[in-house]
């Protein structure tokens, strides 16, 4: 969520000056974008030779900063540089800005695909059968359509995703009605897109 970036956060960010390499800085930035974890804090503490507590604060500050950039869609270097206080180490400031800009598109796509929604349609299959007989009529030839929807419901809390499958039978009339409805949706979409 887009919490405000505070002066304390920037103080914590200066701990990155202790990083052995630019790649190490990059790793920490990218990994703290996801939910902060103790493992990450521990690894960061080792890499930067700082205390675990300091590492945890650093990871949290990076998290706040990257989410702030994502939320407000800060897409130019000037916009991000403007966030930093004047006293901030200038090379580190440029490096962090560069890393944030590099990863923003990926983070944005990820955020949009993980947003709350109804179960997402994942797969669609259909087949057309010919019904040749039934209990009420011994000989007939009536086509019928079966459609299978596979939907994925992502439950963020568990990290697990449940896939549910629904198979639906359609008569010719139902299929015509569906196509009618879908055609109307398409027309309305083209009106919206045209605006």
């Amino acid at each position: 969520m887009a919490a405000a970036v505070t002066a304390e956060d920037f103080t914590n960010l200066q701990l990155l000056l202790k990083a052995p390499s630019k790649d190490a800085v990059r790793d920490v930035c990218v990994q703290s974008h996801r939910a902060p974890s103790r493992l990450l804090a521990e690894n960061t503490a080792t890499t930067l030779s700082i205390s675990a507590a300091q590492a945890a604060q650093l990871v949290q500050s990076l998290h706040v900063l990257s989410h702030h950039v994502l939320f407000y869609n800060l897409s130019s270097p000037e916009q991000i540089l403007a966030l930093f206080p004047d006293s901030f180490h200038s090379s580190l400031k440029n490096l962090i800005t560069k890393i944030l800009l590099e990863n923003s598109p990926t983070w944005r796509t990820e955020a949009l695909s993980n947003q709350i929604s109804l179960p997402q349609l994942k797969e669609l299959d259909w087949r057309v059968d010919m019904v040749t007989g039934s209990e009420s009529v011994s000989r007939m030839s009536v086509p019928t359509c079966l459609v299978q929807f596979k939907m994925e419901d992502s439950c963020h809390s568990g990290g697990s995703e449940s896939v549910s499958t629904v198979t639906v039978e359609l008569s010719r009339e139902s299929l015509d009605t569906i196509l009618d409805g879908l055609g109307r949706i398409r027309d309305q979409l083209s009106v919206v897109a045209g605006k």
């Binding site: 969520m1 109804l118 009529v137 009605t177 979409l189």
Partner: protein, 215 residues
């Protein structure tokens, strides 16, 4: 065996057609049973029931036919069918139970005819054709469907913002499918992105084209 029954001047031709049809059966019950249901074994009570039909006068008989065919045309209205039979029994001072059994036997005739796909020549074509066409269409509609789609609701909109990204502009489509499972319905909700919607539309058009090949 051709019967010219009363009522040739009736205004409602379907009713008279039905009347002729059942008169035909009423008079020649046993012969018909042999001719058309040779592969079926019917209980003796059925032929007795048909002979009991003879005991009704014309007005009563006509009313019974009306009730019978109302039920055949709307087979889901079994409660109404039973109520009408009970009312009839009350009106004519007879007990409802035997009347219901009688009607069950009488129902075998049109239902058996459909099952055996009896040709129209066998069932007095000029009297039965109209009802047969309607009833066979209804029978086809009664054919078992698994997870039949009853209704589809949709809405589409634009995601304006989320907790993670302040400004967005993605179009989404939400579908609600109402599916009949046995006697109750189940709602299934899902969301589609725009490309998925176009894929869905394309696939349904292909399915329709496939179905049209068979008509």
């Amino acid at each position: 065996m051709r019967i010219t029954g009363p009522g040739s001047g009736r205004s409602n031709s379907s009713t008279s057609a039905v009347f002729f049809f059942l008169c035909f059966y009423r008079e020649t019950v046993n012969k018909i049973m042999q001719l058309h249901f040779t592969k079926d074994v019917l209980p003796d009570s059925v032929s007795t029931d048909f002979q009991n039909l003879n005991k009704f006068n014309e007005q009563q008989f006509l009313r019974l036919i009306e009730i019978l065919f109302q039920f055949l045309l709307e087979p889901k209205e079994s409660d109404r069918f039973m109520q009408q039979l009970s009312a009839f029994a009350g009106d004519h001072g007879m007990s409802a139970g035997p009347l219901r059994n009688l009607m069950k036997s009488v129902l075998l005739v049109p239902q058996g005819a459909l099952k055996k796909n009896l040709s129209q020549e066998q069932i007095k074509e000029d009297l039965w054709a109209e009802h047969y066409a309607v009833l066979s269409r209804l029978a086809v509609r009664q054919t078992l469907m698994v997870n039949q789609l009853v209704d589809m609701d949709w809405k589409f909109g634009v995601t304006v913002g989320t907790s993670e990204v302040q400004k967005v502009g993605n179009i989404f489509l939400q579908l609600k499918l109402v599916i009949r499972k046995g006697n109750s319905t189940e709602n299934v909700y899902m969301e589609l992105t725009l490309p998925q919607f176009y894929h869905f539309l394309h696939e349904m058009e292909r399915a329709k084209a496939s179905m049209d090949c068979f008509s």
